[in-house]
């Protein structure tokens, strides 16, 4: 490791780094009226907290400026000073500000002007950043950081540029946060309330060498600091006053406050609480059978309630004049009841999940004095992140306080055994689990498809803990050159437990036995070092970086000690300005450790009790990507900008399931998948000035790989008639997130205060803000299978889902009443209530099963249970007793019930996207 460190420093000795990703920089040149350089001019940022002086050529650079709005003052004896009162500095970018000072013999007041930083033409911005500020998020119909980032070109949900889920890394105030346990199949576990944000951005090209653990993108979130006086906001939004069809039981309350605590200490706090009766609303058509209860109430699914609570707090403590300590804490708790069609009529046995995440960080920032001739910046961060996930059968039903929000935790059957990772105790049937039976409390009564009396017997628990140390340093090699270097060290602790069919003991003998409980407990380590520089040579800006990553699973398996594995990731970006446009070319190599879930055994279940098992592989190596990108951006007019990105990305070493034998259930995880992503992104923007603004982004993408899911067997080997193993050509198929065309239009408008009629002096329409987001996305690929679903027909992912379209809208009106400032708003998602198909049955290519399949399902169920149903049976349904003799008997009376039950069971729900959703909001500011 030390040797590698030295190698890296030698390699990057010539280079200079970018600023910390939660920070930006301001750079430029100070001249007099005749364009002659002014040396020794003093640049103060925010009253002198940070700053710099110009060199003999008038060039300056102020480093480590926190993302957000700043006040910049330039002064020199003999010249009239200039103040730019609103300079917005974006994370990871350098704002170019050139000043021309007027010679003045007498001391006069400064000229205060509004700073206009042109990010589009900024030649120093080599990163491909799509950013959205906290203020913009508030103006748009988006609620979460994920929704805001999803507006970026190249984003397909949480997949970026065609990659799998989990190929991105989350950076919060410069601190990397990633749930390395199951990033590809689960959430981060924490959700940063947008109310605390200064800015959220997506970086998709050769992002800074400072960041690893990602192949496809960096989501960079910067939280705001406290203001000079106490301010706050209380807001409530929901859909509960609306008619029943539009009432999904949403209640959300947000409280924010920030201000000084004295002695220069600032505090920012946010509380976000949300409850939703229907956590996954779908726009599925209502069934037509009057006996199906969804026919009368199709809008809300049972046992689908969700609630979450996010609490974040931040202390900003000025330790000395040049050192600031920031302490941040965030706790997110989310839980949801999960609708399962099999338990539609016995929902208490359907599963539920609970995820709790905590993040605590301390950040000490040091910056040099403005007069310093050798500026130096340092960011020392310590972060602790943990996430606990539980899924299984609940043992309690929290009493809701409001709607679906209870504020109480769900508890799960035998979660103590799971936490103890007690695989010995778990070999027997787990206490409290009862085998599911075919439910009798359905409209159809017949014993088929629907379950009750017991859950599926799944118990899934994991806990991921990470302690991270991060040091980032900036040394100025001159006004136009910085050198960044640093490193990080993470100590992780992975614990997992998994049991399926918990109502049955594990025998481990027969082929169809219950999979044994799977548990793991190991403490991987990761470390990284990097160095990076940015140089300006004439009109060319050059960014060169190198990153060294290492991870060691440190598995405890006897006889299997595979040690650490390491990788080097060089990154290079060049930019220049030509004919009013900025050209950027970048190349980068990226690596991320595989999800730790693939290092441990994994048990699956299926409906026939045939346990499927994937063998964990503690010898997995890095997943890697290499990306080439060419980008052009320019300004056709003062108010408009155009940006075009073209990229090619090679993915390699992605985790896939590799067959161990001819047994389809016997496989091991391996770094066997590879792929290629190519794409073009076009972004047109008219800034929000005057009445309106607009942003149009279009993505054309082609993403292919050999296997799109780590749990799907890699079909790379075939057996020839002689029995020899043959490796076929490296054929690639569309990745799961291969969205060919994506168009996103964002329109914003604000009616001038003076416009329109007034009542009692108040404008009716004046001040009204409106935002519209329109999306058109071509369909994602899927594989066509046979009726049984166990054989792919044709090539993998050779079919396409229908395209999707959606329009979201936000109307907001500010109000001043009785000295209170506030506002009301209406947020409408899927304004036109478009029915979007998000998935289809792979055998028929439609959300609904075919008539023949329904008939076959019903016939099979009837053949299994052809018994007569007498009157006193809970299964008796009077309307199905055609001859009213007290018996439902024979195919004539039973088959219609089985057919209706099959139709009910297979009715498509989550194949459809969300319906029109309203949020009526009211907010008060103080």
């Amino acid at each position: 490791m030390i040797r590698a460190c030295v190698r890296l420093l030698l390699l990057t000795g010539f280079a200079v780094p970018l600023v910390a990703q939660s920070n930006g920089a301001i750079a430029g040149r100070v001249t007099d009226d005749s364009k002659k350089a002014i040396a020794g001019a003093l640049i103060w940022v925010d009253g002198g907290r940070q700053g710099a002086t110009t060199d003999t050529s008038g060039v300056y650079r102020v480093r480590d400026i926190r993302t957000g709005w700043h006040r910049v003052r330039v002064a020199r004896i003999g010249y009239r000073s200039v103040i730019l009162d609103s300079v917005f500095v974006r994370s990871g970018e350098t704002a170019t500000l050139d000043f021309a000072l007027a010679a003045q013999a007498l001391a006069l007041d400064s000229i205060v002007v509004r700073g206009e930083v042109d990010q589009v033409l900024n030649p120093l911005a080599t990163a491909d950043v799509q950013a959205i500020t906290g203020a913009e998020i508030r103006r748009l119909p988006v609620t979460t950081v994920a929704e805001a980032v999803a507006l970026s070109a190249g984003a397909v949900g949480e997949s970026y540029r065609g990659g799998r889920i989990g190929e991105s890394s989350f950076i919060l105030d410069g601190l990397g946060v990633k749930n390395q346990l199951d990033a590809s199949t689960s959430t981060l576990g924490i959700q940063v309330p947008t109310e605390i944000l200064t800015e959220a951005s997506l970086v998709t090209n050769a992002f800074s060498a400072r960041y690893g653990q990602a192949l496809s993108g960096i989501i960079n979130v910067v939280t705001r600091d406290a203001g000079d006086r106490w301010t706050g906001r209380v807001a409530y939004e929901g859909d509960r006053p609306l008619p029943q069809a539009d009432d999904h039981g949403l209640d959300r309350a947000v409280i924010t406050a920030d201000g000084p605590l004295g002695r220069g200490i600032g505090f920012v706090g946010v509380l976000n609480a949300q409850g939703l009766i229907d956590g996954d609303p779908v726009n599925a058509p209502a069934p037509t059978d009057p006996h199906d209860p969804r026919t009368a109430e199709p809008w809300v699914l049972p046992h689908d309630g969700a609630e979450r609570l996010d609490v974040a707090g931040k202390l900003i403590i000025p330790v000395t004049e040049r050192n600031v300590l920031r302490l941040f804490g965030l706790r997110s708790a989310a839980q949801q009841l999960l609708f399962d069609p099999a338990f539609k009529y016995a929902p208490t046995f359907a599963p539920a999940t609970r995820t709790v995440g905590n993040l605590y960080s301390a950040h000490l920032q040091h910056s040099s004095a403005p007069e310093s001739r050798h500026p130096f910046g340092a960011d020392i961060r310590v972060g602790y992140f943990n996430q606990e996930f539980l899924r299984g059968q609940t043992t309690n039903t929290p009493s809701p306080l409001v709607g679906a929000f209870s504020g109480q935790s769900l508890h799960f059957l035998d979660e103590g055994i799971a936490r103890a990772k007690d695989t010995i105790a778990a070999m027997g049937a787990l206490p409290g689990y009862t085998p599911p039976q075919l439910s009798d409390n359905t409209p159809w009564g017949v014993p088929g498809f629907f379950l009750g009396g017991g859950s599926r017997g799944e118990l899934d628990w994991n806990r991921y803990r990470e302690l991270r140390f991060q040091g980032d340093f900036t040394v100025a090699a001159g006004p136009t050159t910085d050198f960044n270097f640093g490193g990080e060290f993470e100590r992780q602790h992975v614990e997992t437990f998994q049991r399926v069919d918990a109502y049955l003991p594990v025998t481990g003998t027969a082929k169809d036995s219950v999979p044994p409980p799977a548990a793991s407990d190991f403490q991987p380590q990761s470390a990284a070092l990097y160095g990076e520089t940015q140089m300006e040579i004439e009109d060319i800006a050059l960014t060169v970086g190198l990153r060294f990553d290492e991870f060691d699973p440190r598995n405890q398996t006897v006889g299997q000690r595979f040690g650490a594995r390491a990788t080097l990731s060089p990154r290079l970006a060049m930019s220049t300005v030509l004919h009013g446009a900025t050209f950027v070319a970048s190349w980068g190599h990226f690596a991320q450790a595989p999800d730790f879930q693939y290092l441990v055994n994994s048990a699956f279940d299926d409906t026939t009790r045939t346990g499927r098992f994937r063998q964990g592989n503690p010898d997995l190596g890095f997943e890697t990507a290499t990306q080439y990108e060419f980008s052009v951006r320019g300004r056709p007019t003062d108010q408009t900008s155009v940006k075009v990105n073209a990229f090619v990305k090679r993915l390699d070493g992605l985790v896939a399931s590799v067959p161990l034998s001819v047994n389809p259930d016997s496989a091991i995880f391996g770094n066997s998948d590879f792929g290629t992503v190519k794409g073009v992104e076009i972004i047109l923007e008219r800034e929000l000035r005057g009445w309106w603004g607009a942003r149009v982004s279009y993505t054309l993408q082609d993403a292919q790989a050999t296997s799109t899911n780590p749990f799907i067997l890699l079909n790379q080997f075939t057996i020839d008639p002689q029995g020899d193993t043959i490796r076929p050509a490296r054929v690639q198929f569309p990745l799961d997130y291969d969205r060919r065309h994506a168009l996103t239009v964002v329109l914003q408008a604000r009616v001038p205060d003076s416009l329109g009629p007034r009542i009692a002096g108040s404008p009716i329409f004046g001040g009204l803000e409106a935002a519209l987001i329109g999306r058109y996305n071509s369909g994602l690929p899927y594989s066509s299978t046979n009726l049984a679903g166990d054989s792919i027909l044709g090539l993998p992912n050779s079919q396409r889902l229908p395209s999707q379209a959606q329009i979201d809208m936000l109307l907001r009106r500010s109000i001043n009443l009785f000295g209170w400032r506030g506002g009301v708003y209406l947020d409408v998602r899927n304004l036109l209530n478009t029915v979007n198909i998000e998935a289809v049955r792979r055998d028929v290519g439609t959300p609904n099963p075919s008539t023949g399949e329904l008939q076959a399902m019903a016939q099979a169920a009837y053949n299994a249970n052809p018994q007569t149903i007498p009157y006193e049976s809970p299964r008796y349904r009077a309307w199905a007793d055609l001859n009213h003799d007290g018996y439902i008997s024979g195919a004539g009376e039973l088959m219609p019930l089985y057919l209706a039950a099959a139709r009910d069971f297979t009715q498509p729900l989550f194949q459809y996207g969300p319906p029109r959703l309203f949020r009526l909001g009211v907010e008060l500011e103080f």
Partner: protein, 338 residues
């Protein structure tokens, strides 16, 4: 504008205070009440045997033995509401996926503190057995009836020295004292070569079990040859002897035994509640008002019906009994008695 603001605040207030969302799809699809109203009215239509109803102490429902239509023909305990309709619960073995044995639950009795006793037998199926391979009188709770604790194995030798192979007519007189009719199986050949045979149950004696940690069984003196048993309150037994129509009343505390009424024929089933005694007498259903000694025959629904195992609810106004119509398996019928 002020109106708009106030309206929004009102909506918020209503949302927080007034609205009360509930989960959808909470409908109960089970039948309520009998299929055809009447008195008597038929409660069960099961193609298997439905027999031996036993009321819960609060009279809200009764348990009975319901023969399943699965291949092993298990007989389980079902719970039915006081006026009929769909059964609400089925107490059955659930570890028999291969259906290779016939498991039978019979003669349930629930005490006032919801302890539950029943007889459980098991027979290897499909081998033409005439008697169970295994049996026991089991003690459990109504809330958790399985697996229960075996307190009297079957067969066993009774305190009266008889070989007891079965038990029936279980009754609690207090939370710890259980009375039952000790029986034996009688195998009767119905033709010369015994290719047609019938297994019937014959009463032997009345025994008492004190259901402590170490259960003790004692013979109720004078009850050898009993054919039917009922209890009334905590101190009174009614019973009949095989081959007789005499209804005996035994005061437990004083051991006073007297004949309070004589039915016209053999008594094969008894039930007592609220000063009334219901008796199955030679296939007919009699109701005896003890205070006046007035006996009446309750109407049957058909001429061929044979009634057995009457069960009066705690009020004495509802009566459930087995009814066999010809050779069909018995079903339960309900009589409403003024």
């Amino acid at each position: 504008m002020r109106i708009l603001f106030c309206a929004t605040l009102t909506c918020v207030g209503l949302a927080i205070v007034g609205c009360n969302h509930t989960e959808p799809f909470t409908t109960d699809y089970r039948s309520v009440g009998p299929l055809v109203p009447g008195n008597p009215t038929r409660l069960t239509y099961n193609s298997g045997v439905d027999t031996r109803a036993s009321w819960l102490p609060d009279g809200s429902a009764f348990l009975y033995t319901q023969q399943q239509t699965t291949s092993d023909q298990d007989q389980c305990l079902a719970v039915m509401g006081r006026t009929g309709g769909a059964t609400s619960r089925l107490i059955c073995t659930d570890t028999d996926p291969a259906q290779d044995s016939t498991n039978v639950f019979l003669a349930p009795a629930v005490s006032t503190n919801l302890r539950m006793a029943y007889v459980r037998t098991s027979t290897i199926a499909h081998f033409g057995r005439t008697t169970p391979d295994y049996g026991a009188l089991v003690l459990a709770t109504y809330a958790l009836p399985l697996p229960g604790k075996q307190i009297v194995p079957l067969p066993h030798f009774s305190p009266g020295g008889q070989s007891v192979t079965f038990a029936s007519d279980l009754h609690w007189t207090d939370p710890t004292t259980l009375y039952f009719l000790a029986d034996r199986f009688q195998f009767t050949c119905l033709n010369t070569n015994c290719t047609i045979a019938d297994t019937s149950i014959v009463g032997l004696e009345i025994d008492r079990v004190i259901t402590t940690d170490t259960p003790s069984i004692t013979l109720v003196t004078g009850t050898v040859g009993a054919s039917a048993l009922a209890t009334a309150g905590s101190d009174t037994l009614y019973y009949a002897l095989f081959g007789s129509g005499d209804l005996h009343r035994l005061i437990i505390s004083t051991s006073t035994d007297s004949v309070v009424f004589t039915f016209p024929d053999n008594v094969l089933g008894l039930s007592a509640a609220s000063g009334r005694v219901a008796a199955a007498v030679a296939g007919s259903l009699h109701l005896l008002i003890l205070a006046t000694a007035v006996d009446s025959i309750l109407p049957a629904a058909g001429p061929l019906q044979v009634v057995d195992h009457p069960a009066l609810d705690p009020t004495g106004h509802l009566l459930v009994a087995d009814v066999r119509d010809g050779g069909a398996p018995s079903d339960l019928w309900l009589w409403s008695i003024p």
